[in-house]
Symmetry: C2
Subunit: 360 residues, 2 copies
């Protein structure tokens, strides 16, 4: 069975429902309305199911910190500031990112159903978890979904050495005859979560992921956390296209932070801080307004099939399509449970104790 | 003065108007309506002005070949197949890509003006020149413009060695207080035009741009043209994010080729072939529907200023913003003329002779 993510033996497996209830228990105890707590839980569990641990239950601590410190508004007045039949601008009122994201995407889907297109952008939000979650919401309705968000500064622009850009992910999901196509990518070479994994394991990072505080490529993960920065997709300089990842990161900032009247990544803060002002961009296209959904599925599935069966490099086991590894991992984890590192388990049970609810 | 592109002495400088008239002269003689010829000329001259020679007048030969071979329809019935207030699906009837692109973008701009959003996708078109041309049309109207196109297969997917993906560019332009922001990037590490330059100069290409027919990284440009392939942005394998460039390429194919009921890059042909079926995606967002245009310009210009003045790496002269080099090159070339390689000049004059018009 396919298993993306955990590879050593320091974990236990937890059924997804148990993890879901645990997250809801913690959040509701902290005063999050049950409906909202369920949205956050679904988002975190989905990340864990798909093998994106950095955005799974591991992240609960940060949200809990944000709630306790007052950085997150538990009863936000999420309101539509401007609206047309095919678009809306939302103010998230510093609510949980998942709640703002979910409601915004729901609205975008509704608008797309009615008019073919739905674009909803949100400002004054918080960290919203995996970008792909929202894109998939649209794909499940037979639509193309796009989701982007700006994020706190971790990436240096081409030629620069300061952390001023976000890892600003872009996700696109589209329905196929089988599981949806799902591209979900940071616009940096790697997301910060990957470095955290290397740090935990005490391993050097590959050359080309990040720079140190002098701006030079480093393999020492501590140098990156200590004043260094991630590199944009395409790497150092322009030779291999680093300016492209840098540009994609700005594209996300323009469509989410600037267009919403919010802010750009340099000024985005952690969830635990007041006014973190994360901004999101959601877009839905209803396929049926363009061509019959069945024709679309036929065409995209044929494309995927032809790519997967094209001649492969001898060193590679197979050619993957975007989202495929995540769905396979999900199958495994739905059967066997979600692997939770013992260290993470301890942390979660500490949260439970602190909040006063039953542990995981 | 800043000059991107030509660096040696084998060129002459031609004023842009002379180049424009030459292109119009050639195309109208071949039967292209004058209005359409002017659209193509403007597009090619713009590429040359901005230093993107691979998409400038050099490309005229391919269009002329396409017209003479019957691969291009000179009197296309460009028609709207499906339409709503915020979107349209266009059939380009095998017309010149620039003409289909220009009309589609005009329509997207109109829809955005009326409704906030305009998405227009086109199928059955041809090579449309630089993607950024269309994005800039929107920025000039105070809107955000996005332009994408699929293209003939030149890129191998991650793990694969066959040319089945296009270099599928993505462009985004946005107005600022100064010149527009303009990201215009192939989703491969480099566009094929860059390799053509190295080939012409008989130079090896940098490691990481392309693979040979066995799928291994090569620096020999002839190996790439002889059965090799370009690498997606992020390079070989997944280590530095090659799967991301591969995914962005598919994003473009999904939004242009699949959603339009056209085809994806594997089946896109050269302009000289009948039914090349290039597909484009255009999107315009009218900023004023979200926030006041002046506020947007203020915010984006401040972002750009802060990035440009952030701490730079000692090896880099400065931090560039997307589009900046092109605008500086344009300034130089508007003053001094557009540099045309003598070899290209000869080729252009041969075209003139063949068609029966005055040379450049």
């Amino acid at each position: 069975m396919f298993e993306k993510g955990y590879v050593d033996e320091n974990y236990i497996r937890v059924p997804k429902d148990r993890l879901f209830s645990f997250i809801v228990r913690v959040l509701t105890k902290l005063g999050v309305p049950e409906e909202d707590a369920k949205i956050v839980a679904d988002n975190l569990v989905m990340a864990d199911l798909r093998g994106v641990e950095s955005h799974g239950v591991q992240r609960l601590k940060r949200y809990v910190d944000g709630i306790i410190s007052g950085g997150v508004n538990l009863h936000p007045k999420i309101r539509v500031i401007r609206e047309g039949p095919s678009y809306a601008l939302i103010d998230g009122d510093e609510g949980l990112g998942q709640v703002v994201g979910y409601r915004s995407m729901k609205l975008a889907i509704k608008k797309a159903k009615d008019t073919g297109i739905g674009i909803v952008i949100a400002r004054n939000s918080n960290h919203y978890g995996i970008a792909g979650y929202y894109a998939l919401m649209a794909a499940e309705e037979g639509m193309i979904g796009i989701s982007m968000t700006n994020s706190r500064p971790l990436v240096a622009p081409t030629g620069g050495i300061e952390r001023i850009l976000g890892t600003n992910p872009i996700a696109l999901a589209a329905p196929t005859k089988d599981k949806p196509f799902l591209l979900d990518m940071a616009t940096s070479v790697v997301p910060i979560g990957k470095l955290e994994v290397y740090r935990r394991k005490g391993k050097d990072i590959p050359e080309g992921w990040a720079i140190n505080r002098e701006g030079n490529i480093t393999t020492k993960v501590e140098e990156v956390f200590n004043g260094g920065a991630l590199l944009p997709l395409g790497g150092f300089g322009e030779l291999l296209g680093g300016h492209k990842g840098y540009g994609l990161s700005l594209m996300v900032d323009i469509l989410s932070g600037i267009l919403s009247g919010g802010t750009w990544s340099k000024y985005v803060k952690n969830t635990s801080e007041k006014g973190s002002n994360v901004c999101h961009f959601f877009m839905v296209i209803d396929i049926e307004h363009f061509i019959p959904l069945e024709e679309f599925k036929e065409k995209i599935s044929q494309m995927i099939e032809e790519i997967k069966s094209s001649r492969k490099h001898p060193e590679f086991e197979r050619i993957w399509i975007h989202g495929e590894k995540g769905f396979l991992t999900m199958e495994t984890r739905l059967k066997l449970g979600i692997p939770i590192y013992r260290k993470v388990l301890e942390e979660l049970n500490e949260i439970a104790k602190r909040v006063g609810v039953e542990g995981l």
